[in-house]
């Protein structure tokens, strides 16, 4: 499978990338390429120009900023997975990054690329939602910060507009708080049929993978968790507001059942006792 022809330009900085986007009609940004290239090969997506941003070194970092850790959008999953700083303060994020695809995918894919793709079946958006991350979006007009809860707008659509780049993701530290990620799939490398991310502590969060058209923050269940409700109450609340679909892997009812069961398991694994 071969993509439709396109022109290729390389950006050397964020400003350069934004300027290149303004210069070209029908352009797309290319980061690790592990969502975009497969879709272009299937000809689900085509673009006249690809602007390669993968080598913008200023967007690849993991930095301790006191109350939060800032991760550059072009940081590869492999680096997130292996970061000692994240393992100490944001175990959920490091763990989830280690369960994206397979090692080859994690060697190329980037945190920002995965989030901007906005796939409801992807792992990292759920981690960002459960952790209450903030997305830093840069465009010609400057920089704005969008909470993860408002970032995922529709199927494969995020708050990042045309000519904007997600440049950084800020994760409030969760040092010492329990967390868990329960992913149900058939083969190790597969997308989740359903997955549940749980973060305990102050501002606890529960987020779901593949339970609707966007990555889903389970607000009712998160509120029940914050209120210290029994596990069974939280698990019952977890499917509120979801719109899971039927496909070859599972029916909606089965996905809802999975979401409840995985929530119970995740809460137990995270050390929640109530």
């Amino acid at each position: 499978m071969i993509p439709v022809s396109f022109d290729y330009v390389e950006a050397t900085s964020v400003e350069h990338a934004l300027a290149l986007f303004a210069e070209h009609d029908d352009a797309k940004f290319l980061a690790g390429g592990h969502s975009l290239v497969p879709m272009m090969k299937l000809r689900l997506v085509s673009s006249a120009v690809l602007i390669d941003i993968a080598r913008i070194a200023e967007l690849s970092y993991i930095e301790d900023r006191g109350d939060h850790v800032a991760v550059g959008a072009l940081t590869r999953h492999r680096e997130v997975e292996g970061s000692a700083l994240l393992a100490e303060h944001l175990g959920l994020l490091a763990h989830v990054a280690g369960h994206v695809g397979d090692p080859q995918v994690r060697n190329r894919g980037t945190l920002g690329g995965s989030l901007v793709h906005g796939d409801p079946a992807a792992d990292l958006p759920a981690a960002a939602l459960a952790l209450g991350a903030s997305m830093v979006i840069t465009g010609a007009a400057g920089t704005r910060v969008v909470p993860a809860a408002e970032f995922f707008v529709n199927f494969l659509e995020t708050a990042v507009g045309d000519g904007e780049l997600l440049t950084e993701v800020r994760f409030p530290k969760r040092t010492g708080d329990g967390w868990a990620y329960q992913k149900f799939n058939r083969r190790a490398m597969d997308y989740a049929i359903v997955a549940v991310a749980v973060q305990l502590g102050q501002n606890p969060g529960i987020a779901l993978v593949n339970m609707g058209s966007t990555p889903h923050l389970a607000t009712a269940a998160s509120a029940a968790l914050a209120a210290g409700s029994p596990t069974s109450v939280i698990a019952d609340a977890v499917v509120e507001g979801t719109e899971a679909w039927n496909d070859a892997n599972a029916t909606r009812e089965y996905r809802e059942h999975l979401a409840r069961v995985l929530t119970v398991r995740a809460l137990a694994q995270a050390g929640y006792t109530s």
């Binding site: 439709v4 290729y8 390429g33 272009m40 090969k41 090692p103 080859q104 190329r108 190790a188």
Partner: protein, 178 residues
């Protein structure tokens, strides 16, 4: 049709070509450089048959554009042992422990295992299986592949102990298959 210059180092040899931006790395390796040991399996980033080592990291070359690799060092299955030279430890491990049947997934398996051992020279069975999540084999059931990696870990120089009656050098033809 626009092209861009791509310079890469493949198996230690500098190569430069004008390529269309849409050319995938696996097609550049197979069709332009004629290094057909790297296989196209699923062509959907799943099976890992196209795995090569790009600047030290295993990647699926069906999901990397050739232009994305410019300036990089690439190792393919052909780069592990020159014709007539001894097999690498991982190649010898697959030979000793019968880590293949039909052989289609083998080049990708060997490259993924080679990347694993360069980072973790003494992996546990669990670590081997985790590292091979991105490589599918429909013949072996994986156990023989895991054994092959363990053999390579235990024989890092790839030398077969005297009592074995193994073929210990690469065939005198380019590549491991087509």
């Amino acid at each position: 049709m626009s092209t861009v210059p791509v310079s890469v180092t493949v198996n230690g040899e500098p190569r430069t070509h004008e390529v269309e931006p849409r050319v995938l790395l696996v097609h550049y390796l197979r069709d332009v450089l004629r290094l057909t040991g790297t296989h196209v399996g699923c062509d959907t980033s799943n099976c890992g048959a196209c795995t090569v080592i790009l600047d030290g990291a295993a990647v699926k070359s069906c999901t990397v554009l050739a232009v994305q690799a410019r300036g990089c060092e690439i190792t393919t299955i052909e780069g592990l042992a020159a014709p007539g030279e001894p097999f690498s430890a991982v190649q010898q491990g697959f030979h000793q422990e019968h880590g293949l049947q039909c052989g289609y997934c083998t080049p990708g398996m060997i490259m993924a295992c080679t990347a694993l051992l360069s980072e973790n020279p003494d992996p546990t069975e669990h670590e081997i299986r985790h590292a091979l999540e991105g490589n599918l084999c429909r013949c072996t059931g994986y156990q023989m592949i895991v054994n092959s990696v363990r053999w390579a870990a235990e024989h890092p120089d790839g030398v077969v102990p005297e009592s074995s009656d193994a073929v210990s050098s690469a065939p005198s033809m380019q590549g491991a298959g087509s």
